[in-house]
């Protein structure tokens, strides 16, 4: 029997469970899509693996590692299907969770719904204790009050417990003592401590995070336990790794300890795949743009890595409105979600403006042209009328689109707005593109960057269709369309590094911090994180350690994340540390304030290691297939546009826009003047012409 040479990835999404297996000797991969089984998600995983292995005649014994991502826990939060959870806080603060930020996320909506706290008031208790802001113990923990509080909660049927004491980020002693006392009094009851889940200043955000962790912990324990048992029964003995929201892998125990870190594992895998595909074309600064049926997602990839944020919102009352969800202080690949997809509905608003989205026809009834009863004009209807889609070969030929229904739906909004149907169709296309570009622009600017410095990497059904036009609006000149975009997330899992992030709050200024104390604080975090990475990939895999900090000018209220030079720090480190902060500050803001003091709020450590054997073979077909032709009206003239089949393109081929490239699941639109080249790695890389003079001239118009 040969050494295990297969790597297996499983990504559970809302509709499909993607299974991909990579042969690490050849770089060839095989993929399978299985319907997700929400009642018992492990069943779909096992069935999918069994089918793929049977189809490709693979042996379970040859699998060396298994990597897993899932949206199950996010959905459990959204659908409020978690455990009955109790909360114990410092006396005087049990209502912190419910009082929240006291702000309305939409000021003008008198009737807006607010997210219910995950723990109702009757399940929130208090214990006597007090720790000061410097970590000093001001009042010892009263074990009796803690036991009594826990007993009341357990009597009320609580299945999971969160403990959040004030200033526990500065000194976790009381929470740790509480953990021991509770384990003794209630063995088997899962307990989440804020100092372990989110050791950061700001009590509401920390409470919200710890409670969310407690809420999904029993679910995660049960599911992950079940999955590993089922996989073993299938004959898979290889270790199971989990993708974290930050785009790193970790072993099962770490995932079970703080499952709130798993919430965004699916999207994180997608962003990671984008970074990898981009790097294969030598592009390390990317905007990963994934447009589906309901939403578009955008992630900034910088220096070959997706940006990681340290705040996240789950279970929003209004999906695209910031502040309408539960704040979570976790590391997560930073994605924005935009209410723009193929199903997004076009309408005239009260001001007579053409708006597209965020309301979506979804897949049921779907766009009017699906002929499933939808009558509202959507982005897909517009695209069909523009000639961008093949009515006969949509979704791999599984669906026929009805141009007459699209014409009727778009015609209605056109009449209302005093436009010709063709103008409305190109208007829908332009508006949805500007909506996505505007969101991208603000997002990129929040990082102090300019979109023009990035390439756009497009995935999803809509990414290739809209990518070049979104890029043009952002001033981006290069667009990358990777192969196998349909299972990109699962592929990303196989290429992900092991990564563990750790954070600690210092809340001290640079001149209050002896360098050796700072060094010791970093080393503690590095040892902790390093141990988890070693347990994931083995002690011998080379590790990369990165230091960073949430820093600000003393007195500012928002921190920026600065990458710091490597340690160890000594007296000579003060200047480089200061410079690192100033460099990060200058990169975001144009002016420095007239303030001298610099404060470390949180310090952060990221330890990562690359798994062995992670290269891919594109698997390109050798011979070009015949091209078809479609008519597009471009700037008023009817232009016959060549249609290429993606599978038929050989490495080195060059395509001149205007042209369309179809691959079963999507169509890449090459505008006039664009040049696409097919690279040996399977990527199609598009170079767009320089800035256009009149940006509002529609690029594409209706083909009669």
């Amino acid at each position: 029997m040969s050494a295990p040479h297969l790597a297996l990835a499983v990504d559970i999404g809302g509709t499909f469970t993607d299974v991909v297996v990579l042969d690490q000797r050849t770089g060839r991969f095989h993929a399978h899509k299985e319907l997700t089984t929400p009642d018992n998600p492990a069943r779909g995983v096992v069935t999918g693996i069994a089918r793929l292995f049977a189809r490709e005649a693979l042996a379970c014994a040859d699998v060396g590692r298994i990597v897993h991502a899932t949206t199950l826990f996010t959905n459990a939060l959204i659908e409020r299907r978690g455990a009955r959870t109790g909360l114990i806080t410092t006396a005087g603060f049990r209502d912190t969770l419910e009082i929240g930020h006291e702000r309305k996320y939409e000021l003008y909506d008198l009737h807006l719904p607010l997210p219910e706290p995950l723990v109702r008031r009757s399940l929130r208790e208090e214990a006597s204790e007090r720790i000061g802001p410097d970590g000093g113990i001001e009042q010892p923990l009263d074990a009796g009050s803690l036991r009594a509080a826990a007993a009341r909660l357990v009597d009320k049927g609580v299945e999971s417990l969160a403990v959040v004491f004030l200033h526990a980020y500065a000194n976790p002693a009381h929470e740790q003592a509480a953990g021991r006392i509770l384990a003794e009094a209630h063995p088997g009851l899962p307990v989440s401590l804020s100092s372990e889940v989110a050791p950061q200043i700001r009590e509401y955000d920390r409470t919200s995070t710890t409670v969310a962790n407690a809420y999904i912990k029993p679910l995660a324990d049960a599911y992950l336990g079940r999955l590993s048992t089922d996989l073993r029964e299938l004959g898979l003995r290889a270790p199971l790794f989990m993708m974290l929201s930050n785009g790193g892998l970790t072993h099962l125990e770490e995932a079970q300890r703080v499952p709130v870190q798993l919430l965004e594992s699916g999207p994180a895998a997608g962003a990671l795949a984008a970074a990898v595909f981009g790097a294969r074309s030598g592009l390390r600064d990317l905007l990963a743009f994934d447009m589906g049926g309901t939403t578009a997602k955008l992630c900034v990839v910088q220096g070959g890595e997706p940006l990681v944020a340290h705040r996240f919102e789950a279970g929003r009352e209004r999906r695209f409105t910031r502040g309408s969800g539960l704040p979570l202080a976790i590391s997560t690949v930073e994605l924005i979600e935009i209410g723009a997809g193929g199903g997004s509905i076009a309408r005239l608003d009260a001001l007579g403006l053409l708006k597209v989205g965020p309301r979506s026809a979804g897949s049921e009834p779907g766009p009017a042209c699906y002929a499933r009863g939808g009558t509202a004009p959507t982005v897909t209807d517009g695209n069909l009328l523009l000639g961008l889609l093949d009515a006969e070969g949509f979704a791999g030929g599984t669906m026929r689109l009805d141009a007459g229904l699209a014409e009727r739906a778009v015609g209605e909004v056109a009449t209302e707005g005093g436009l010709a149907t063709a103008e409305a169709a190109s208007g829908i296309h332009a508006v949805v593109n500007e909506t996505m570009a505007a969101a991208a622009r603000v997002h990129v600017a929040e990082h102090g960057r300019d979109a023009r410095d990035f390439a756009l990497l497009v995935t999803g059904g809509g990414g290739p269709l809209h990518g070049c036009e979104v890029a043009r609006r952002l001033g981006i000149r290069r667009v990358v369309c990777p192969p196998a975009a349909g299972v990109a997330s699962a592929l990303g899992l196989l290429l992900a590094p092991a990564r563990v992030d750790r954070v600690a709050t210092l809340a001290r200024t640079l001149d209050q911090l002896p360098p050796e104390a700072l060094e010791a604080a970093f080393q503690r975090l590095e040892e902790e994180a390093g141990a988890v990475v070693a347990a994931t990939l083995g002690p011998d895999v080379p590790r990369e350690v990165r230091r960073g900090a949430d820093m600000r000018f003393a007195g500012q209220g928002y921190e920026i994340v600065a990458a710091l030079p490597p340690g160890p720090y000594g007296a000579a480190s003060l200047a480089p540390l200061r410079d690192a902060f100033l460099a990060a500050y200058d990169a975001i803001f144009t002016r420095r304030p007239p303030v001298q003091g610099i404060e470390f709020v949180n310090i952060r450590v990221s330890v990562s290691a690359k798994p062995p054997g992670s290269s891919l073979e594109p698997g390109l077909a050798a011979a070009p297939t015949p091209v078809g032709q479609r008519g597009l009206r471009i700037e008023g003239k009817l232009v016959p546009v060549p249609v290429h089949a993606r599978a038929g393109l050989v490495a080195g081929a060059r395509l001149q826009g205007p042209a369309l490239v179809e691959d079963g699941m999507s169509t890449l639109v090459l505008p006039p003047g664009a040049v696409a080249s097919v690279e040996a790695n399977g990527n199609l890389v598009v170079t767009l012409p320089g800035p256009r003079q009149a940006a509002d001239t529609p690029l594409m118009e209706h083909a009669p």
Binding site: E102, P113, R120, T435
Partner: protein, 538 residues
């Protein structure tokens, strides 16, 4: 070469408008992230506005604090009176905190930067933000004249062609207790203005716009039409309202007649009590801002904020009444009067459209303000905001503790304790304070602060609805919420006065509950049971 007249079809206008809005959002994000004071950073007490060359607003972020609604463009027009277009140059920044030209109290500093294209003034980028300190007596209502409330800055050119005026900067620094924070926030405002200018010029390049006149006209007239259409849906009539505030020795009466005719609304405050020799007077700009805010929230919240949306609204208040103060009336705590306006407007609208409004809210915004000395003798001052319960409506219970109409959040206890000489002994819901009703009003909250400084600190408050007659009223048969209270060492005190806390002394702020909606007898038994289980009622 002159621009050919452009037609704005629904597509082109949407594209341009989206882009303008995103540039203001970018600027707001930059201001927030570079600001220093708690008040801006945790409480979002600022606004960014893009206006045309005449100072008529085009875009303002929809979620800004209402006190800045319409005020920044008004201030821009005062700037233009003092500094006509021909006296302005690229890189200039105009600045004032004049309360009658600005937002009604001195801490709000309004700045505007003229934007030039090909040598021509095409726009103003503007911003207003609440400075952490502006000298004078600390945020007390006791001032008899504006002169006691701090430094008054007339409209002046604070930045000339990119260079900050040193005389001004030194004067300002000398007149505030926390000069680094004040200057830091001012720089954050300048950063936001620069960003708006860059984005606007890039947009004009891309779309080949030489000026914004046609675009401004289109944006403003469409918004105006939408607002008028929404007003037309309200039955014609005169709807009256009246409210008592805590006031001073005696409550203060605010009187409203809301005349709705066709597609316009006149809010007439004739009959309202006269201005008082205390810092709770309201300038007309602030009266307009909160009147317009309430009307828009009730009638057409989705229409974007710009000049056009507010043209159908007229506000009348006799000169010298407390809603249209005249110099030298003090106004530092104008919110204590002005925040009663939105509930007053809604109570009048309730006569026409009860299902679209909410019961009384435990507003105005409360705060604890303090000044003291650190161990090293340096001065320290800060404010901590907090809110009361929200009003119930035909749809649902009023949420517990929610900021309205100001939308200012409270700072985290852990942040307060890290940076200030206080311990917070508790911060909890004030159960039983929401007005009863078919839908219950939201509860207020209570904060207990202990002075941990080495010496005494002076505290003042923003606190209202502490008299029973000023409680947040119920609607449609719902009961009023419980009034608020301020206690020093456990004893109720006059919240309008300054108090000195010795080390170890405590002060507790108990914010009011919101009003209920509908008769209490109609409350769903399941909701009553849940209230009992969660301890919201006994």
């Amino acid at each position: 070469m002159a621009t050919a007249p452009r037609a704005f079809d629904p597509v082109l206008l949407e594209l341009l408008w989206t882009r303008l809005a995103s540039s203001v959002d970018e600027a707001a994000a930059a201001l927030l992230r570079t600001s220093f004071s708690t008040i801006v950073r945790e409480s979002h007490d600022f606004a960014c506005v893009l206006a045309d060359a005449q100072g008529r607003s085009l875009v303002q972020a929809t979620d800004g604090v209402p006190s800045f609604l319409c005020t920044v463009p008004r201030t821009m027009r005062h700037f233009l009176d003092e500094y006509p277009a021909e006296t302005l140059a690229p890189g200039d920044v105009l600045l004032t905190n004049d309360i009658w030209m600005g937002t009604g109290h001195l801490p709000d500093i309004t700045v505007a930067r003229p934007v030039f294209r090909q040598g021509r003034l095409v726009a103003f980028a503007g911003s207003a933000a609440h400075a952490p300190d502006i000298g004078g007596r600390i945020r007390t209502a006791e001032s008899r004249e504006v002169f006691e409330e701090g430094l008054q800055i007339p409209p002046l050119k604070a930045v000339r062609a990119g260079v900050l005026d040193d005389t001004f900067a030194r004067m300002l620094r000398k007149n505030t207790r926390v000069p680094d924070q004040v200057m830091g926030d001012l720089f954050a405002q300048f950063t936001a203005l620069e960003l708006m200018e860059r984005r606007l010029l890039a947009l004009m390049d891309e779309y080949g716009l030489d000026d914004l006149e046609a675009l401004a006209l289109e944006i403003q007239s469409r918004s105006e039409r939408a607002m008028r259409a929404a007003i037309r849906e309200v039955p014609d009539g005169t709807y009256r309202g009246e409210v008592l505030t805590d006031g001073l020795a005696q409550p203060i009466r605010l009187v409203l007649a809301l005349h709705k005719r066709g597609d316009g609304i006149v809010a007439d405050y004739t009959g309202t009590d006269a201005q008082v020799p205390r810092g709770i007077n309201v300038c007309l700009s602030y009266t307009f801002a909160y009147t317009a805010f309430a009307l828009k929230a009730a009638l057409c919240p989705e229409v974007p904020n710009n000049e056009g949306a507010f043209r159908p609204v007229t506000v009348e208040a006799p000169r010298g009444c407390i809603l249209n103060s005249t110099p030298p009336a003090a106004g530092a705590n104008r919110a204590l009067t002005g925040h009663f306006l939105p509930p007053l407007i809604l109570s009048a609208l309730a006569q026409a459209i009860p299902e679209r409004v909410i019961a009384g809210v435990g507003s105005p915004l409360w705060s604890l303000n303090f000044a003291g000395q650190r161990a090293d003798g340096s001065t320290t001052a800060n404010h901590f905001f907090m809110n009361g319960g929200y009003g119930a409506s035909a749809l649902r219970d009023g949420p517990n503790v929610l900021s309205w109409p100001s939308n200012v959040s409270a700072a985290p206890v852990e942040m307060i304790e890290q940076h200030n000489p206080f311990r917070v002994r508790h911060r909890r819901l004030r159960v039983g304070t929401g007005g009863r009703g078919r839908h219950r009003g939201g509860t207020g909250q209570e904060w207990l602060f202990e002075n941990r400084a080495a010496g005494p600190v002076a505290v003042t408050f923003m606190a209202e609805r502490t008299r029973i007659e000023a409680a947040a009223p119920g609607l449609a048969g719902g009961e009023a919420g419980t009034p608020g209270a301020v206690l020093v060492n456990g004893v109720a005190v006059d919240p309008k006065r300054q108090h000195i806390l010795e080390p170890g002394d405590t002060v507790e702020l108990r914010t009011p509950g919101g009003g209920g909606f509908g008769p209490p007898a109609e409350r769903d038994p399941a909701a009553i049971a849940a209230d009992i289980e969660d301890g919201f009622v006994a």
